[in-house]
């Protein structure tokens, strides 16, 4: 197990000759993503400030890029790519399910409290 690394990323688009090479490749990829995030964060292009699904488009881009980074850190640095499907699913899906639930409840209720304050302590007037 310890010596059998899968050396492909991007679904086989990029193949590396050794594990060390793959690590540097992933570092370059993560650095590019971080650089893109920082540049977008500093300049905040006006064209990306429109609202998509209740949030600024730019914020969705940040969140998606973060999840991409999280994927490559987990899969290549933490070697999740080389673990059995059982371990991978037990760890990843458990966390994703519970975190999505937590986020949904708390953001939903935060929005509710905002609306209550905003409308003078009346959320809905039937």
């Amino acid at each position: 197990m310890a010596h059998a690394h899968k050396l492909e990323i991007f679904r086989g688009l990029v193949k590396f000759k050794s594990n060390t090479q793959k690590i540097w490749g992933v570092l370059i990829f993560l650095t590019i993503i971080t650089a893109v995030e920082v540049v977008l964060g500093i300049y905040k292009p006006e064209s990306l400030m429109g609202h998509v699904l209740g949030m600024k488009g730019l914020n969705w881009i940040f969140i998606i890029l973060t999840l991409v980074k999280a994927y490559y850190i987990t899969w290549d640095f933490m070697h999740m790519r080389d673990e059995t499907a059982g371990l991978r699913r037990a760890v990843v899906w458990t966390a994703i399910f519970l975190i999505l639930y937590l986020i949904f409840i708390l953001l939903q209720e935060g929005g509710y409290v905002f609306n209550v304050y905003d409308n003078g302590y009346i959320k809905r007037d039937f």
Binding site: M1, T34, G41, T66, H79, A95, G110
Partner: protein, 326 residues
């Protein structure tokens, strides 16, 4: 590791304990399960931050205006640059860690030693940077006035640039002195007093025609609302309660106190993880030098602390996004 576990003599049977259906050792699997639970803890904190932010969605501080400092570049507004550097340091130390794990697979003691050392250095640089970031945040920059309702009034010039209190307010003689244990009741003391009183700020505002008050409320463009001259003086006179310089758990010159509370709590909890990660890495580093894993013919311990170290990096990626970018 077999020397540390008693054999039961039933290893060849299905339920005898010799099976590894997930092809991972006990220790590694438990590290993964610990990481899952720790990830849920951090998610809880970040989701709670999200809750407070959604609750005050129209008045939350703008992170780009809060974190603008870079060491040795005094007085320049450089949002994001220093955090980007910190992020890069942490990712880099993740890379040296995974290189150490890889060298461990090849039982290359010299390389494991070097890479572990670099990882520890990266961790120390990160923790140091975070301490500096905290110090800057606590010290504050421009100063503000808190209203009776607990909101923050900041000051800008007519072009919309921030103006610090020290640039337009003159401190007079104050009768009120800081109460310390030695000069008052011995069991009562208080924090340092603000440099200015609200009266002095009002006086300074009246003398300087180009200074305006900026409230916490965000307008439709996502900028803070700036009041006109008459309204500025009226608001400050009617509602100004005391001067806030910097941030602590109770008040915060950048806006909602909750912002500072979550900043201290989440980056503090993360920084504590980095600190403990550095300490564990140092322990493993010395074990590597002493040849513990060389004798064991397995560097799996390096792999396990590596998992923890990458997890700390993983959390930072999310903290970075939700505190500094979004």
């Amino acid at each position: 590791m077999s020397t540390t576990v008693a054999n039961t003599g039933t290893e060849d049977k299905t339920w005898g304990g010799g099976n590894e259906p997930l092809k991972a050792s006990y220790g590694k699997m438990m590290m993964w399960f610990f990481i899952v639970s720790d990830a849920l803890t951090f998610s809880g904190f970040l989701a709670a931050y999200g809750f407070s932010r959604f609750k005050f969605i129209d008045s939350w501080p703008i992170a780009d205006e809060v974190f603008t400092h870079v060491p040795f570049l005094h007085g320049q507004e450089l949002p994001m640059i220093y955090v980007a550097f910190m992020t890069f340091v942490l990712i880099m130390s993740s890379v040296t860690m995974v290189l150490a794990v890889d060298a461990g697979h090849h039982l290359n003691k010299a390389k494991v030693t070097i890479y572990m050392f670099l990882t520890i250095i990266g961790g120390i640089i990160f923790v140091g940077s975070q301490a500096w970031e905290w110090a800057t945040f606590i010290q504050g920059d421009y100063g503000a006035v808190q209203t009776k309702g607990g909101n923050i009034l900041q000051f800008v010039d007519t072009d919309g640039h921030r103006v610090a209190l020290r640039d337009f307010v003159e401190a007079g003689e104050h009768e009120r002195v800081q109460q310390e244990q030695k000069n008052g009741i011995w069991f009562v003391s208080e924090g340092s007093l603000p440099t200015y009183t609200v009266e002095e700020v009002i006086h300074g505002l009246e003398k300087h025609d180009n200074v305006l008050v900026r409230t916490q409320i965000l307008n439709e463009h996502g900028h803070k609302t700036v009041l006109d001259r008459a309204e500025s003086i009226k608001q400050l006179k009617a509602n100004g309660k005391h001067v806030v310089e910097g941030a602590n758990l109770k008040e915060n010159e950048y806006g909602s106190p909750l912002f500072a509370d979550f900043f201290f709590f989440i980056t503090g909890f993360h920084g504590f993880h980095v600190l403990s990660g550095v300490i564990i890495n140092i322990i493993i580093f010395f074990n590597v030098i002493l040849g513990t894993y060389e004798k064991r013919k397995s560097y799996e311990m390096v792999e396990k602390v590596g998992l923890y170290w990458h997890f700390v990096d993983l959390v930072w990626v999310f903290v970075f996004t939700f505190f500094y970018l979004v």
